[in-house]
């Protein structure tokens, strides 16, 4: 009898602790907003980016690009500067349209926002501001361990009538720092498509935000369908000062492409 009482007490304790670990919907939404807010600058952003693409039976390709962002109107430019064959190519996002430009043919092509960037495993969203709270409904998967880190696991499902590349996303968020350490993205069929690791996060004071702006200097992207393929994104020399006003135009892009 005494033993049964002890077992029940232990069970109660366990259930109590797991209920404590799970967040309610408001807390989850707040967490998503926090994740988004840490990565938003409320102003302009310029970064030098390297993309290292590894594909099976192919030589590794390293691309250098400059990413320009403006929080207002969610504008974005990815302008490739190296290698020579890619120089001047890139993407421009204006009014929810993603345009791709190739200086060799001098033509702009309208692309889907969800396609691969330059044929790598990266997507436009990897270079853009985080909009998790706007695009996904979260649910809590509880606490877990990721290596030596204590993490909180979330499953995000896309909101109705929102178009995203991956309708289901799982996040591993460091409970101590709120840094996203791992992200898995799933197709409509439920198949795991990409796993992303964010080994480091850096902060920089933003004048426009009047606070800290966080970014991952390195993103490791693993293709889970074609297992041998992966892409490493390195984000360097982030500059949060204001950019020229006319920068997010086709004319400006073309002038830089020449």
């Amino acid at each position: 009898m005494h033993q049964l009482a002890r077992s029940l007490a232990l069970l109660g304790l366990l259930l109590g602790s797991s209920a404590q670990a799970l967040m309610n919907q408001d807390q989850l939404l707040q967490l998503l907003k926090t994740l988004d807010d840490r990565q938003q600058n409320n102003g302009d952003y310029r970064a030098l980016v390297y993309l290292e693409q590894k594909e099976k039976d192919q030589t590794d390709v390293i691309r250098e690009a400059i990413v320009y962002r403006r929080s207002e109107d969610q504008r974005l430019i990815i302008l490739f500067t190296k290698p020579k064959s890619e120089q001047g190519k890139g993407y421009l996002r204006v009014d929810k349209n993603l345009w791709s430009y190739d200086p060799n043919v001098g033509k702009w092509e309208r692309r889907t926002e969800r396609e691969r960037i330059a044929g790598t495993d990266s997507r436009r969203a990897d270079f853009d501001e985080s909009r998790l709270a706007e695009e996904y409904d979260p649910s809590d998967d509880g606490d877990d361990k990721l290596g030596s880190y204590n993490v909180h696991r979330l499953t995000l499902k896309v909101k109705p009538n929102v178009d995203v590349a991956f309708p289901v996303v799982k996040l591993w968020v460091d409970t101590a720092t709120n840094n996203v350490l791992k992200r898995q993205e799933f197709a409509l069929s439920g198949r795991l498509m990409r796993t992303l690791y964010y080994p480091r996060w850096q902060k920089q004071f933003s004048e426009s935000k009047k606070g800290d702006f966080w970014y991952p200097p390195e993103i490791r992207i693993y293709d889970e369908v074609e297992k041998a393929n992966s892409t490493i994104v390195l984000i360097k020399t982030v500059d949060l000062r204001s950019l020229e006003t006319n920068i997010f135009t086709k004319a400006w892009f073309e002038s830089k492409s020449r």
Binding site: K107, R110, R111, R114, D163, F166, E185
Partner: protein, 433 residues
């Protein structure tokens, strides 16, 4: 005239060696031209056969649906209503099939290929049954959901055999990533360039992959009883569909997958239909036929120049040898025009006999090559659209070649014949050769 013809034939018979050499050269050139023409005709027929099986009907009613201005999908929504309009306005229709269209990555454990995906209802695909040569598996198993038919080259690249599993990965028309696991049920022999970029899955599986409704398809492919009706049907369908209230895209003689850039640049949203014919859809491969035709033209031109020099030289020799004969004929009253005709007829007879022999020789060579089923290397298969050399005789083209070369040899003979006719009888009779 009969006498002149007799003289021409006897003259050719008398100078056997010369006739044999020159006639032989003309026959060889004709035979070569016939072989090249049959190769070109065979290539065109193979492209037509492969293309109208793998990726196009004789006439297609396809189109694009745009969710947003920059995002198009190659689909026809509510296609059953379109079928009604098509059936009413095309009495020349033999049969019609609906074919789903997609562009996706097919992934195995060891590799991947980017291919066009045809969604088929295999029980209503007579063309596929006739044309595809299945190396392994069973084509009819494609009736089962989540199955796939590959071609040899793709199966080799992916290192798979019948029964193995593959994953197809593609974004839906809204850009959302999706995958489909499929089982290989058949591997067909390659059909050249076109089969490199095409695989087939059941249409229900394609709809599942792209999250399409069951009343949505990629294209309605119309097969006509007579290919000559294609331009008329093409034009009539355009008018009929417009009259039925459908938005129809401007004529653009390109394959549907080459239109994404221009369609995405346009600002409209919703459904627009696109009417194309088989020639438009394979415009990106018909360059091989054009190149072969150009090669045939250049080769024929060069060889004709060589023949022209030969014919002209022979005529000069003939005229020199027969100068006294010309003088005598002129002295006994033969008109200049008849002398001219005498030599022209000689060239014409030589040309007709030699080209006829050449045509027979060429046709025989082609028949032998066809019977030998000569396997061609993979690089050549890309251009020939077939794994064996196929030559197809076209009697009209062969007759054309015979007449053209005969005409050329005759025309070349005109100048020396004209000079022969101008000889004065007295000086010709005194000529000592």
């Amino acid at each position: 005239m009969f006498h002149l013809l007799l003289i021409a034939v006897r003259s050719l018979a008398q100078h056997r060696r010369r006739t044999f050499l020159l006639g032989g050269a003309i026959a060889v050139v004709t035979a070569l031209l016939v072989v090249l023409l049959e190769l070109s005709t065979g290539l065109r027929a193979t492209i037509l056969r492969s293309a109208t099986t793998l990726m196009t009907g004789h006439v297609n009613v396809a189109g694009f649906y745009k969710v947003t201005a920059g995002q198009s999908a190659p689909v026809v929504t509510q296609y059953t209503k379109v079928v009604d309009v098509v059936r009413k306005s095309v009495p020349e229709l033999d049969y019609l099939i609906e074919r789903g269209r997609g562009w996706a990555r097919v992934i195995s454990e060891t590799g991947s290929v980017q291919v066009g995906i045809g969604g088929v209802d295999i029980q209503h695909e007579p063309g596929l049954h006739q044309v595809l040569r299945i190396r392994e598996g069973n084509l009819d198993d494609l009736a089962e959901p989540n199955t796939i038919l590959l071609f040899d080259d793709q199966a080799t690249k992916l290192e798979v055999k019948v029964g193995d599993l593959l994953t197809i990965s593609a974004p839906t028309p809204r850009g959302v990533s999706n995958t489909l696991d499929v089982r290989v049920v058949a591997i067909a022999r390659d059909l050249g360039l076109l089969s490199r970029f095409n695989v087939f899955v059941p249409i229900s599986s394609l709809q599942a992959l792209y999250q399409l409704r069951s009343d949505t398809t990629g294209a309605l492919m119309l097969y006509l009883k007579n290919l000559k009706a294609v331009p008329a049907v093409h034009a009539r369908l355009r008018e009929a569909l417009q009259a039925a209230g459908y938005a129809v895209m401007d004529d653009n003689p390109k394959a549907f997958w080459m239109k994404f850039d221009s369609v995405n640049r346009e600002d409209w949203t919703g459904q627009k239909l696109d009417i194309t014919n088989w020639d438009d859809e394979v415009s990106f491969v018909t360059y091989t036929v054009t190149a072969l035709d150009m090669l045939t033209g250049i080769l024929t031109f060069v060889l004709l120049i060589i023949i022209a020099i030969g014919v002209m030289n022979t005529m000069w020799i003939s005229i020199r040898e027969r100068t006294r004969e010309i003088g005598t004929l002129r002295a006994i009253g033969m008109q200049r025009r008849r002398v001219l005709w005498m030599f022209v007829l000689e060239a014409l007879v030589l040309g007709l006999i030699s080209t006829s022999i050449g045509a027979l020789l060429g046709t025989a060579i082609c028949a032998l090559l066809n019977a030998a089923h000569i396997a061609v290397p993979i690089g050549v298969q890309l251009f020939l659209m077939n794994d064996t050399l196929t030559l197809l005789p076209d009697p009209a083209k062969i007759l054309g070649a015979v007449l053209f070369i005969s005409f050329c040899t005759t025309a070349i003979a005109l100048f020396p014949s004209f000079l022969a006719a101008r000889l004065r009888p007295i000086s010709a009779m005194h000529y000592i050769g």
